[in-house]
Amino acid sequence: MKRPSLGAILLGLVPFVANCFSVALWDRVYPTVLSLPFNFFWLISWLLLTPLCMWGAYRLEEPRALDTRSEEGGTD
């Protein structure tokens, strides 16, 4: 199948770096933000920031998906 564009993959990697690989950097109680422990605040923020990254990926991928559909003669 058609592979996703490099830009979309990089945007998809951002939440993985933030939520997963960098755990040792943010898994701490202080400094508290909005009176939440830092690790809580960090992960909650990424619930909101991940849609932003993926919205960017959507903007990159959707035109390509449309190309594929018209190549195949699809009407969807």
Partner: protein, 496 residues
């Protein structure tokens, strides 16, 4: 009036109302298999969102997440960690799965493997992995129902009879409602659960501490180690976190019921948009953690962390409110359990039993078999629920490790021309063997790493090596592969 009677009466009322809605919803639609399993592939953004969100918010998130916050502390953050990431992965693979699903009339996950790798046996093997992994997931729901009945009766109904009541509710619900009914009840339970979860999440810390911030401040003074990893555990540190988050992120949409949910969408674009907005739904999750943390400060020493949310609600609020929470919780267990059971029974009958053991079976016989399978699977889950003492989250991790072994076959199936039938077969077999061995011998985590993740890595290597050594039979979905007949076996899995 006796508080346990009030609570139990309200729970029964909510469960009965839900079942009645399910029962009547199914009468409006005459369904063939295509309609029944994948909703005619005509669901739009909102309905797909509701369906996926509804299936994902289960007893595991409601009782299990607060339970782990109570008993384990920091490691529970892995749930918040993987929540947005599963949608990132879904963004890249679900639209493609949808596309081949439409092209080849796929209805189940095993169909995908069968068509892509040209092997009925591989399809059957994948179905077996799916069905077996679903058992602990159903067990979570049955156990959750048992806990609700036990707490709401103030201990008057003990664990084992409570679990059997849970079993009766789930099995009855599946037979009464069918999938269309389940979808309607799902909307009701989502609203009820969201409202109660948000209310409890804010109200409990407010009543005891004057707010979530103060609750955390108290916690940070008295027991700061509980809030970070490894929390109250010795072996669930950062390496475990990273490997577990990766395992679930890759494995989540390998659950056969979630995989097949992508076939219900009207277009691939709907699935992409859905993936963009879904992380917002997880915003209720931290509130469940707050309840678990509050419970540990208020009433430490519970033998079972999974009881913490319900016990705290019982202690804090009047009996009628416990009834509403219990009723919401009961529907939250019944709806996903019904979908899991229907998926498991369909996989078993359509992709495993008939093609391998009894190709001559009529559709009516297959339908009967699927009904029996619902009972078999539920009974298996009940027996396990009665005899096992694993926490809800541990059960979920076990099933997830199993289904995640299907990930290499799906991803390579979509993007690689080199993956062979034997390679994928060998990879899944190796992965599953390692998961079973490490978990049954108590080696999870193994050297601080998630056992399922270790198995997934070995699975990828075995798939790659064996694929390199064996000839390619089918080089990808772009080839014109034999399509499954549009409405194979009409009433095969119509349980109602």
């Amino acid at each position: 009036m006796n508080p346990s009677l009030v609570a139990l009466a309200i729970i029964s009322g909510i469960v009965a109302a839900g079942s009645v809605v399910g029962f009547f919803a199914r009468f409006h639609h005459k369904m063939d298999l295509e309609q029944w399993t994948v909703g005619g592939r005509g669901f739009g953004l909102v309905l797909v969102w509701l369906l996926m969100a509804g299936e994902i918010f289960t007893t595991f998130t409601f009782l299990g997440a607060s339970g782990w916050a109570y008993s384990k502390g920091g490691p529970v953050l892995y749930i918040l960690g993987y929540s947005p990431l599963i949608y990132v992965v879904s963004f890249f693979i679900l639209p493609l799965i949808w596309e081949v699903g439409r092209k080849y009339h796929l209805q189940t996950q095993a169909d995908f493997f069968q068509v892509r790798y040209g092997s009925t046996y591989l399809g059957a093997f994948v179905a077996l992995v799916g069905v077996v992994s679903l058992v602990p997931y159903v067990q979570i729901q049955v156990t959750g129902l048992g806990l609700i009945v036990e707490i709401a009766s103030f201990g008057a109904i003990h664990r084992t009879p409570a679990i059997i009541v849970g079993f009766a509710l789930v099995a009855g619900f599946v037979f009464m409602s069918g999938v269309r009914g389940v979808a309607w009840v799902s909307v009701i339970k989502d609203l009820l659960l969201l409202l109660t979860a948000v209310f409890i999440g804010f109200a409990v810390p407010h009543v005891y501490f004057g707010g979530i911030g103060r609750m955390f401040a108290t916690f940070a003074q008295t027991n700061p180690g509980h809030l970070t990893m490894p929390g109250a555990t010795k072996n669930l540190g950062h390496a475990w976190y990273v490997t577990t988050v990766l395992l679930i992120s890759f494995g989540f949409y390998m659950w056969p019921q979630y995989f097949a949910a992508s076939f219900t969408a009207r277009s691939g674009r709907i699935l992409r948009r859905n993936a963009v907005i879904m992380p917002l739904y997880a915003i209720t999750m931290p509130l469940m953690f707050c309840v678990g943390f509050s419970a540990l400060l208020i009433m430490p020493g519970l033998s079972n962390g999974d009881l913490s949310l319900l016990t705290l609600v019982r202690k804090t609020f009047p009996a009628w409110f416990l009834g509403i929470v219990g009723g919401a919780g009961a529907l939250t267990a019944m709806v996903p359990a019904a979908i899991q059971l229907l998926t498991g029974a369909t996989l078993y009958s359509k992709n495993l039993f008939r093609p391998i053991l009894a190709p001559g079976m009529t559709d009516q016989q297959v339908a009967k078999l699927a009904k029996i399978m619902v009972l078999v699977l539920t009974s298996g889950a009940v027996i396990l629920a009665i005899y096992s003492s694993l926490s809800l989250v541990s059960l979920w991790l076990m099933g997830s490790a199993g289904v995640a072994q299907l990930f290499p076959g799906v991803v390579l199936g979509l993007f690689s021309r080199r993956a062979t039938t034997s390679g994928v077969f060998a990879g899944i077999a190796a992965g599953i063997s390692i998961v079973v061995f490490l978990m049954l011998t108590g080696r999870d985590p193994y050297f601080g790493l998630n056992a399922g993740f270790i198995a997934l890595c070995i699975n990828f290597v075995v798939t790659g090596v064996v694929s390199a050594l064996t000839p390619v039979r089918v080089a990808g979905f772009e080839e014109t592969l034999p399509t499954l007949p549009p409405s194979q076996s009409g009433s095969a899995v119509s349980l109602t």
